[in-house]
């Protein structure tokens, strides 16, 4: 098992390096084709070459390779890797430490993701189980249609409607009902409050989770249906176990493995939703920071953040794989299948 974990970690490191290199190439080519990101520093004022050069030098963009389209700029890449290895994530275009930015932004995004994942699991397990248990019933059809509707409904519409139509009246109502000093007004605040991060991230997280829950509902339903059809369930039933026991011990438990796996895989995908949620609810988080960084060609910040995100995602994937291997020994013994 230790060997399996070690091998998986090594693979993960490989993936990480590959992702970093791909991104480095993409950003390098973008700079080479579109000109100097240091220009972005000056907004709508035209900077003198001297000013641009000063900014370039400050942020390590003065390597001539950035002016030669097609040059992979391996030098700056190696330099950056060395920096990362020393634990230095570098600075953004305006000289702020990437580590500081991430330190401020990451906890909020993690809070958001926590709520999102709990929402996914709760909705997925409950609705998916119900749909699978009463396959073909009106409830099943209803749940499946709902899941499709959720899929088709863009997240931002949900958030905008909540923010402008629902949140303000709810917030006022809860203030009147529970008092200024109670929690409910915080839950329904139309935007994030750094002083009460958990309370104000709750509803946005639930909404974002709701938007992504469709896939989970379907996944749980499908894997539970498979379980219901499986030998062990038939055996359990023929042994005379009560139906709830069969459902809980044999169906729900067996179908939770693919669900957990899916959580690991949708981590990066959820970031897309995070950009929108963070923007609309004014949560200072990784999604928003990354979004702005890319828009400003802030190479250092983009690479720093993506490296961290990739590391986290890869670790989550590895953790999921290991959990999987613990549950299913065939995986760690067999070759790769």
């Amino acid at each position: 098992m230790t060997r399996y974990i070690a091998r998986r970690l090594l693979q993960g490191a490989g993936t990480l390096l590959l992702v970093m290199f791909v991104l480095h190439l993409l950003t390098t080519v973008a700079i080479q084709l579109n000109g100097n990101p240091a220009q972005a520093f000056f907004g709508d004022k035209v900077a003198t070459p001297a000013q641009v050069a000063a900014v370039e030098e400050r942020f390590g963009l003065d390597d001539p390779c950035f002016d030669q389209p097609g040059n992979p700029c391996l030098g700056p890449f190696a330099e950056r890797l060395g920096q990362y290895a020393r634990g230095d994530l570098g600075t953004n275009l305006r000289g702020r430490e990437v580590a500081d930015i991430v330190g401020a932004a990451a906890p909020n995004t993690l809070r958001l993701f926590c709520v999102v994942v709990v929402t996914w699991l709760a909705l997925g397990m409950v609705l998916g189980s119900v749909a699978a248990r009463w396959r073909g019933s009106a409830g099943d059809h209803g749940i499946r249609l709902t899941s499709v509707l959720i899929d088709a409904f863009p997240v931002f519409v949900l958030l905008i409607v909540y923010r402008y139509v629902v949140a303000v009246p709810l917030n006022r109502w809860s203030k009147e009902t529970f008092g200024e000093d109670s929690w409910p007004p915080y839950w329904f605040r139309p935007s994030f409050d750094p002083a009460h991060p958990w309370a104000t991230v709750l509803v946005p997280g639930i909404l974002l989770g709701l938007a992504g829950s469709a896939a989970f509902i379907r996944l749980v339903r499908a894997s539970q249906l498979e379980s219901y059809a499986g030998e062990h369930v038939r055996t359990a039933r023929s042994k005379g176990l009560s139906e709830p026991r069969v459902v809980v011990h044999h169906v729900v438990r067996n179908s939770s493995v693919p669900v957990v796996t899916a959580v690991g895989l949708t981590f990066a995908e959820a970031l897309g939703g995070a950009v929108i949620t963070e923007g609309l609810m004014n949560i200072y988080g990784m999604g928003g920071v990354l979004w702005e960084a890319v828009r400003n060609d802030d190479v250092g910040l983009v690479l720093g953040i993506v490296t961290l995100l990739t590391t986290v995602t890869v670790l989550v994937m590895i953790a999921v794989d290991i959990a999987y291997a613990l549950l299913d020994p065939r995986i760690r013994l067999g070759t790769d299948d």
Binding site: L149, T313, D337
Partner: protein, 304 residues
């Protein structure tokens, strides 16, 4: 070989005919089919549905409420004074084309890679699995912006295909992985079945085994997720538009309309949002219902 093709031809109509018979017994499937035919017609011949051009807009007529049948603007106008119905009808083509192109190309890419990985295992599988992992890890929006910035200098023109090209590239790049994973998994299951061994012991080439034996029996789970994938793409297009990296204005699409409409949903003009949203939801539901019906009709186990 000619004889074989003769044989094939005589064979094909039967299961399809059966499927059609089964389909007709489901009224929801019929409705779904009608909806899809309607939108496809709209995409092909928008002028059948509206004579107003989506680009002749009178800003002084902005945000007119729906006037329904008979009025100059049956579904009202948007914030720029453009006719909502005209925009909607002309937005069908890019939206559907995008969905079909993205799902189609992603399917081909994903299925091919999944097939190769599952069939050969070894280094091919390693390569494909790592690639899948890399693409799962890179956030889509990041890549979308980077790709956009790579292509921004390129003049793409204004044809229907040109306006969807950038979002299509981005969405294809990040939607092939599930197909690859599903196909790989079911190839692993299929390739050890006896009929594959039989073909191999006959000395059939790898290509023949993959195409004739493994693939047809391994694509089942993938076809099941296709309707939802199409739905997801149309909805993603709206998200990309919301972030300013989707189909580029002044070209229209449902995504752009939804994005622009969402701004006005509380400003007294919810029809700007509702019109495209209803169409999107209808299309998606139709696809899912039809997909379900088709699957039930084609699945021999259920036909029993």
């Amino acid at each position: 070989m000619e004889r074989m093709t003769d044989m094939d031809r005589t064979l094909t109509p039967r299961p399809l005919a059966g499927a059609w018979r089964a389909l007709r017994r489901r009224p929801d499937a019929v409705i779904a089919a009608v909806v899809l035919v309607l939108f496809t017609t709209m995409a092909l011949a928008p002028r059948l549905f509206t004579r107003t051009s989506p680009r002749s807009c009178d800003i002084r007529e902005a945000r007119v409420d729906p006037q329904w049948a008979g009025g100059a603007h049956p579904l009202g106008t948007d914030s720029l004074g453009c006719d909502v119905l005209a925009t909607l009808v002309h937005g069908v083509r890019p939206s559907l084309l995008l969905a079909v192109v993205v799902v189609g190309v992603a399917l081909v890419v994903g299925v091919t890679l999944g097939l190769l990985a599952g069939y050969y295992l070894g280094w091919v599988d390693y390569l494909v699995s790592r690639t899948v992992e890399v693409f799962l890890v890179i956030p889509l929006l990041l890549a979308a912006l980077l790709i956009l910035s790579l292509f921004q200098g390129v003049d793409l023109g204004g044809g229907t295909f040109d306006v969807i090209l950038l979002p299509a590239i981005v969405l294809i790049l990040f939607s092939w992985m599930p197909y690859a994973r599903y196909v790989r998994a079911s190839v692993l299951e299929t390739k050890n079945l006896d009929y594959v061994t039989a073909a191999r012991s006959l000395g059939a080439s790898d290509l023949r085994i993959m195409v004739r034996h493994v693939l047809p029996n391994a694509v089942g789970p993938v076809t099941a997720i296709l309707p939802t994938s199409v739905a997801g793409i149309i909805s993603w297009e709206a998200v990309l538009s919301f972030l300013g990296i989707g189909v580029r204005p002044p070209a229209t699409s449902w995504g752009i309309q939804i994005e622009q409409g969402s701004e006005w949903v509380t400003g007294g003009a919810p029809h700007i949002l509702l019109a495209p949203l209803v169409c999107l939801v209808a299309t998606v539901l139709a696809l899912v219902v039809l997909g379900d019906a088709l699957r039930d009709a084609l699945d021999p186990r259920l036909a029993r």
